[in-house]
């Protein structure tokens, strides 16, 4: 049975790592529903939250495949764990009449969303929450006319004091060198 799985993936912060992960999902025919990436508490380590639709065995294989990437430090399927999930959304809503505008502002307040920009004919509403809350907000705003929508995709963190310790790759020593002479030529290929 296909269900949604959320993975926390710790990766070395190196060029091309995102490409390797994306390439793996494509090659193994897994569909990414959302992927977010950013720095962590450990320098040199980035953390991804990846949401995929898969059966349980597929999720195990995906985990094993992620571990095969040399730059992947730690994979944690947090689907079954007590975790907090959040997503951030910004919605630009049309407010052509005053009535419209008042209504949109009221809805935002009910959803504890914030209005972050007000223009003559539109407002931008921002909120953070679970997908359900965001869907709920969207539903009530839609009749007013959603002009633009941007979502970050889900991030997640397991509740409680435990933390995932990951160790980044050690830095290589760098020698002191004068900058290489720039000969200006493109290449001397034959």
């Amino acid at each position: 049975m296909q269900t949604r799985h959320t993975f926390s993936v710790y990766v070395e912060d190196k060029p091309g790592v995102l490409n390797r992960i994306a390439s793996l999902f494509r090659r193994r025919a897994f569909n990414i529903e959302s992927l977010t990436v950013g720095h962590t508490e450990t320098p040199g380590v980035s953390r991804m939250t990846i949401l995929v639709n898969s059966d349980v065995q597929g999720a195990r294989r995906l985990e094993a495949n992620l571990y095969k990437l040399v730059n992947v430090l730690r994979v944690h399927d947090i689907t079954a764990e007590p975790a907090v999930y959040r997503e951030l959304v910004m919605i630009k809503v049309a407010t052509r009449t005053l009535e419209n505008r008042i209504h949109v502002l009221q809805l935002a307040e009910v959803f504890r969303a914030r209005v972050v920009d007000v223009a003559p004919d539109s407002v931008i509403v921002e909120t953070t929450g679970t997908e359900d809350k965001i869907e709920g907000l969207l539903e009530v705003l839609r009749p007013h006319g959603v002009l633009e929508l941007v979502r970050t995709g889900r991030v997640g963190m397991v509740r409680g004091p435990q933390s995932v310790m990951v160790e980044p790759a050690p830095q290589r020593p760098r020698s002191e060198r004068p900058a290489a002479a720039d000969d200006g030529s493109i290449s001397y290929s034959v």
């Binding site: 091309g16 195990r60 040399v70 430090l73 790759a169 290589r172 290449s187 290929s189 034959v190």
Partner: protein
């Protein structure tokens, strides 16, 4: 003494310190600094005729020796020519290191002359790859790349080095110690409970079967597998890439499984109550229709790569780890077995079909590939290293050459790369200079990389080449015969006179079209100091039997229509 070196020198210095003695390559602008520095180092460089050849040579070298094979090429077209060889090594878990030159780091991304995003292109077909643009990274990257290539589940690794990183100088830092890769876990171990569960299933089985795969040889576990099989009294079937991992003439050996495996082997798979899969990945050519595969069997899967578990076939117990280590731990838990009645049942399945003594059949005046391969086997006493190409001849080799030694059959299984044999054989010969190396190739595949005959001539390499010349892209013709109403679209093949061709390269050429000439020609080839190419003009429309059509049930094989095992198309006598 100053230890300042250029990146180019460091490339070789690092390779030499790692024990690399031979590299296969082709120069060009972006790798020229490295080539220039090469002259100062004790490295044998084999100049290939096409970079694909370099990768297959490195691959053949790796498969014959167990050590990492090294190939080197320039940026752009040099690197893209390597793609087929890299993908070949990837699918068959062969450890190779490809070093490519890259344009200067300042012009990366500008479509500079001969610039290709090689790490991008090879990302999905390498185990890992690197772009090195800082001279300080050259030595540690080569150290790390060789380690990644050979450890865990082996595979190809590519290191792309910019021209400026080759030209810049630095104090070389060399740490021969263990590589520090916090995310890389080549050594896994299953829990005690899983070991106990596996032992329970094995000990309780009445009709068990060992499926020995490539991992047996990659792990160097042939001896352990043999002891295990003998103690538990379990018959052994091999995948194509497993051949050699268990002695062919051992009484517990059944032969090859799968699409062109022996009928009784596939029948035994379907009737087994336990499959013990050792370093094999249940390829679709092994399982046929997975829905009807081994329906009565519990499955225990031992593999170093946990992503293989439950990928194609659902298993009951999975033990992750290096096969040799796992067997060491598992063996004490296994009771000595007695499976006489199961072994007798399999002998029964074999019945008449087992009689493959083709040499006893009357000479119909026709030459068959099976004769050629049988004679090569007999004369080399099963001790040659045979490197095959891809097609019908490859399957006949697997059926008629009986391999006793690990790493003695070298063949492209997963990718099925035509053109593999000749270059891979060059690599195998350099890895095992004392071995007698035979190429068994088709007339089609041989023509894909035959330019490497020039490499053989220039490097004075001695191998023997048997071309199974059937005038067709035979394996494709066979599919057309079975599945496309004999409409032979683009499979009849015109070839040059291969014997004369060999002479052109300064090698020895022969042509054989009679059965009685096979033995003398093989003997002459073995005695010749030069590489010999024998053009065996065999029956054109011979067919590989048995065959499980792709995706069909394993027990529904297409069998040879006549009871006569070999000469059914040669009845004009």
């Amino acid at each position: 003494m100053s230890s300042m070196r250029t990146g180019a020198q460091i490339v070789w210095e690092a390779l030499v310190r790692e024990g690399v003695t031979t590299v296969f390559g082709y120069p060009g602008g972006a790798i020229l600094p490295a080539y220039d520095a090469m002259l100062e180092y004790p490295i044998r460089h084999v100049l290939v005729r096409h970079e694909q050849g370099a990768t297959h040579m490195a691959d053949g070298y790796a498969r014959a020796s167990g050590e990492v094979g090294v190939a080197i090429a320039t940026s752009g077209p040099g690197a893209t020519n390597m793609v087929t060889g890299i993908a070949t090594a990837m699918l068959d878990s062969s450890p190779i290191l490809c070093i490519t030159g890259q344009v200067g780091s300042k012009v990366i991304g500008t479509d500079a002359f001969q610039e290709t995003d090689v790490t991008g292109v090879t990302l999905p077909i390498t185990k890992h790859n690197y772009l090195v643009s800082d001279v300080d990274d050259v030595a540690p990257t080569i150290h790390e790349a060789l380690y990644v290539a050979r450890s865990g589940r082996p595979g190809p690794v590519l290191v792309d080095i910019t021209k400026d990183a080759q030209q810049a100088s630095t104090e070389m830092q060399w740490d021969p110690g263990a590589v520090k890769l916090p995310g890389y876990r080549p050594d896994l171990r299953a829990s005690d409970a899983e070991y106990r569960r596996a032992a329970e299933l094995i000990n309780g089985s009445k009709r068990p079967l060992i499926l020995a795969g490539h991992g047996v040889q990659l792990s160097g576990a042939s001896g352990e597998v043999r002891q295990f099989a003998e103690r538990a009294d379990m018959p052994v079937a091999m995948t194509l890439l497993g051949i050699g991992g268990f002695p062919a003439l051992h009484p517990l050996n059944l032969g090859m499984m799968g699409m062109h495996g022996e009928a009784w082997v596939n029948q035994a798979v379907q009737e087994a109550d336990l499959l013990l899969a050792l370093g094999m990945r249940f390829d679709d050519r092994v399982t046929g229709n997975v829905k009807t595969y081994a329906p009565n069997a519990r499955k225990v899967h031992i593999d170093i790569d946990p992503s293989e578990f439950n990928k194609n076939v659902k298993v009951d117990v999975a033990l992750a780890g290096d096969l040799r280590m796992v067997l060491e731990e598992l063996s004490p838990l296994i009771a000595a077995g007695d499976r006489k009645s199961w072994l007798a049942a399999i002998r029964e399945m074999k019945g008449e079909v087992a009689v493959r003594d083709i040499q006893n059949l009357p000479d119909s005046g026709h030459l068959y590939a099976a004769h050629v391969i049988h004679d090569i086997w007999r004369l080399t006493k099963g001790k040659a290293v045979v490197v095959t190409d891809v097609g019908q001849h490859q399957m006949w080799e697997a059926q008629y050459y009986h391999h006793e030694q690990p790493r003695s059959l070298i063949t492209s299984g997963g990718l099925g790369t035509m053109g593999f044999a000749l270059p891979a054989a060059i690599g195998a010969k350099l890895a095992q200079p004392d071995a007698e190396v035979w190429v068994v190739a088709g007339d089609g595949g041989f023509q894909m990389t035959m330019a490497e005959l020039a490499t053989i001539a220039q490097e004075k390499i001695k191998i023997n080449v048997a071309i199974i010349n059937n005038g067709y892209l035979g394996m494709v013709r066979q599919w057309q015969e079975f599945f496309y109403e004999r409409r032979y679209a683009a499979t009849p093949l015109l070839s040059p006179d291969f014997a004369k061709l060999a002479e052109c390269f300064g090698l020895t050429g022969m042509q054989v079209d009679k059965r009685q000439d096979v033995v003398p020609s093989v003997e002459r080839a073995r005695a010749d100091e030069r590489t010999v190419v024998i053009d065996f003009r065999v029956e054109q429309e011979d067919t590989v039997y048995p065959m499980v059509p792709a995706g069909a049930d394993l027990h529904n094989m297409i069998r040879r229509p006549s009871p006569n095992p070999i000469v059914e198309t040669a009845d004009d006598e």
